[in-house]
Amino acid sequence: MSKEDIGQERLLKSGEYLFREKDRGDEMYLIKGGKIRITKEMGGEEKPLAVLNEGAFFGEMAIIDNKSRSASAIAEEDTELIIVNKEAFLNKVNENAFIKYVIVTLIQRLRETNEMWMYQGIHNAKARLISYIRYKAEENNKGSGINIDSRVPLNYNLISTAIAMEPSIIKDFLNELERENILTIKDTIIINSLEKIKEYEDFVVTLEEFKKIEEYEDIVRLREELGQ
């Protein structure tokens, strides 16, 4: 890339967000000085995916596949960025059809594995499925009002691969969620309220936590009773 291809600079204060997951974005950055933390939501919490240092680039995924940001970028300390010229970058990538295919495929796989990682960190199976549905619904709903019906494709094989769960179990959970009025199953999954599904997800996680504490307390009590 020549001098002119390297565009403006941008300064961030420590702790400042550059962009958030699911934002639209068409800028790619190079770190001139400082550090950028890349985080992704996992079951309602922000978890770090990487910390990038001077010389690293990021933000290229949204440029190449025109999808929303797959993760958030936050300045870990005061940071200087160079905004890479989008056209110059795309020209380079497009120069050779085969190279373009390789890059596009790598990015697609990165998105998929990042997502799988996000779901694998949620060990309660039901919470994992709800988190998947909510995430997809939010992705499809970005930009419109929060309480408009959101749809998620009902493809058992796709969901099964993404969250590592048997299709039969997915089916059972979905039926359960329909009975609880969280969603409606037609040929797609229809979510009536994103707020409600978020609340339900929190509820499932909290329930699991308390169950663990209670089980533990039961064991302690039992041991005391047995005089151990």
């Binding site: 990487a50 050779n96 890059i103 796989r109």
Partner: protein, 212 residues
């Protein structure tokens, strides 16, 4: 790529394994017909990462970074593959330093999330930590039976980022391992005996299994 660069073909029967996770490999493949299932071991089970169809390529990561296969490839149906010539791919990638940098970075990131995926799927945090430490030590082992310097910082920040545990938790586990004579803690974490670390990991895995 020209005709000449597209090398041999290879046919697989349904169910046949093309390569396994951890194998050395320097070939990249293009699916001419059929389907390939990509699977990875996670929490001691094989999980499907993707099912690839006609026109998709795979196996490029080992060609690009010279490291072992990050996942296994199995024919889902009878499958015809075209073997893409390694040198032709590398020539194309190396033609432009910027492209080389982009592809190199994407490959690194993919490796890293693959690894993170593997560890996050282990729900028991103690087992998750032991497995990570064991893998890191194995990667640095020169086979002489001497102490293995993992290069990992005992403060636990980088480990915490990689496997999603709290730093305090990591330091507690390390203290325990030090007490058992399995590790030594200096500027970095030194594994004194890989054999005992493996044993200990097996022990807590069994413990978890039976307490369930």
């Amino acid at each position: 790529m020209t005709e000449k660069d597209i090398g041999y073909e290879r046919t697989l029967n349904a169910g046949e394994v093309l390569f396994r996770e951890g194998d050395e490999g320097d070939r990249m493949y293009l699916i001419k017909s059929g389907k390939i299932r990509i699977v990875k071991e996670m929490d001691e089970m094989e999980k499907t990462l993707a099912v690839l169809n006609e026109g998709a390529f795979f196996g490029e990561m080992s060609v690009l970074d010279n490291r072992p296969r990050s996942a296994s490839a199995i024919a889902e149906t009878d499958t015809e593959l075209i073997i893409v010539d390694r040198d032709a791919l590398l020539r194309k990638v190396n033609e432009n330093p910027f492209i080389k940098y982009i592809i190199g970075t994407l490959t690194d990131r993919l490796r890293k999330t693959d690894d993170m995926l593997k560890y996050y799927s282990v729900s028991n945090e103690k087992i998750r930590f032991m497995r990570y430490l064991k893998d890191e030590a194995r990667g640095k082992d020169n086979g002489t039976g001497e102490d293995i310097d993992t290069g990992l910082n005992p403060e636990g920040k980088e480990i915490a980022d990689m496997i999603g545990l709290a730093r305090d938790e990591i330091r507690n586990y390390l203290k325990k391992l030090e007490k058992y004579g399995i590790v030594e803690i200096g500027d970095t974490i030194i594994v004194k005996t890989l054999k005992r670390l493996k044993k200990y990991e097996e022990f807590i895995s069994l413990q978890e299994e039976f307490e369930k």
